[in-house]
């Protein structure tokens, strides 16, 4: 095998290898979605974020409009402070509500935004006032059990009167 044939094959090999990397990056990974689009950052405080993680999606009407940038604990209000990067292409009114929702029953948690009716739009650094915490399954179950117990007590008390 002479030199030029080797060069050709090495070229083919390198191109195929780089192509495979590109395939992994573009087709398998999520490079395209929000890596270099312009964003603006808003904040929201939640009583409980449940299992929310950094880089979790932020959806409005089911469409991904941003990602969670940072999650921190606020020492003064004892709440979770969540920083969110929203795509600059999407504008929301100032009285938008942020909820922590779960995709499916056991799926990943994400932030859902529900637009309000205010004429003024959110800008970078603003804080969302209206928030709703994650549903903690244990609390839900204990609430349900308490309700059940209360229901059972009343009819039993009736005939005594």
């Amino acid at each position: 095998m002479n030199r030029s044939t080797i060069d050709l094959w090495v070229g083919v090999f390198v191109v195929a290898g780089v192509g495979a990397l590109l395939f992994l990056a573009l087709k398998v990974g999520n490079l395209a979605t929000f890596s270099n689009a312009e964003t603006y950052q808003v904040y929201a405080k939640f009583n409980n974020i449940g299992g929310l993680k950094v880089r979790a999606p932020i959806k409005s009407a089911g469409v991904v409009v941003g990602r969670v940038a940072d999650i921190r604990f606020d020492n003064e209000s004892y709440e979770a402070l969540v920083a969110m990067n929203l795509d600059a292409g999407y504008q929301f009114p100032r009285d938008t509500t942020a909820k922590i929702l779960t995709s499916g029953i056991l799926g990943e948690q994400y932030v859902g935004l529900e637009a309000g009716g205010d004429g003024v739009m959110l800008k970078s650094g603003d804080r969302l006032r209206l928030t709703q915490s994650a549903v903690v399954l244990e609390n839900l179950i204990s609430q349900f059990l308490f309700n059940k117990a209360a229901e059972n007590k009343e009819p039993a008390a009736e005939p005594k009167k």
């Binding site: 060069d7 090999f13 195929a16 290898g17 780089v18 495979a20 990397l21 990056a25």
Partner: protein, 274 residues
Amino acid sequence: MRLEWDKLAEDARGRLERLGGNVTALVWRLGYASRFLAYLVMHSGTALKRFRLTMAEIYFAGVLSLIIILVSGLFVGMVLALQGYETLQRFGASESLGVLVALSLVRELGPVVAGLLFASRAGSAITAEIGLMKATEQLSAMEMMAVDPIARVVAPRFWGGVISMPLLAALFSAMGIFGGYLVGVQLIGVDPGAFWSQMQAAVDLRNDILNGVIKSLVFGVAVTWIAVFEGYDAVPTAEGVSRATTRTVVTSSLAILALDFVLTALMFTGGNNG
């Protein structure tokens, strides 16, 4: 009686001495190998300037390994899809098949299995070649002609392996995902949209793909370093070369698995659940 005790003590001392000797020899070899690597990197000027030399080694280590890498990747991906589907459909999560196949390949199996194949396909050949050059005194002949054999023979092989390994691992992963797609979507009938979109949503560019590339690069350096060192350090006889070749495969396989644990612990425990 007394004589027997003396004999036992002598025996135990001999064993201890041998153990100490072995440990010292191991540490000595490690130090020598590190000095060898440092010298090799510092004298890589020739290999990088006359890139033709390295190119021939990329052909030898990379291009000729393509068949085994691609076929293994394809089959590993196909098996992953079959096995994964069996388990996932029990939980009604067969749409996550793409995530399972892609994450296991990109994070673990791609770099590790490609590394193991690379060690046995290319690493052993590098050791045998350099060892045989040493046994037939080609390396000494080069020194006679004032040609540094490390710069002329060892460095191109080292860089050829280091460049080839990440590319091979990427090809392995891509081929495996294609195999998983073949079995999962074409054969079993998982929804193709869910297969790709769930995969894209779950695989992160920096956390998963870049870390996989870093892993394969580290494995490439480790395997080729071990291969060229074993070859250069081989006892210049037929038996010595065969032993060195065996040692290359064993040591580099162990090195890959051990490094994989360390790298995984570094990469995926701290960053991913923040």
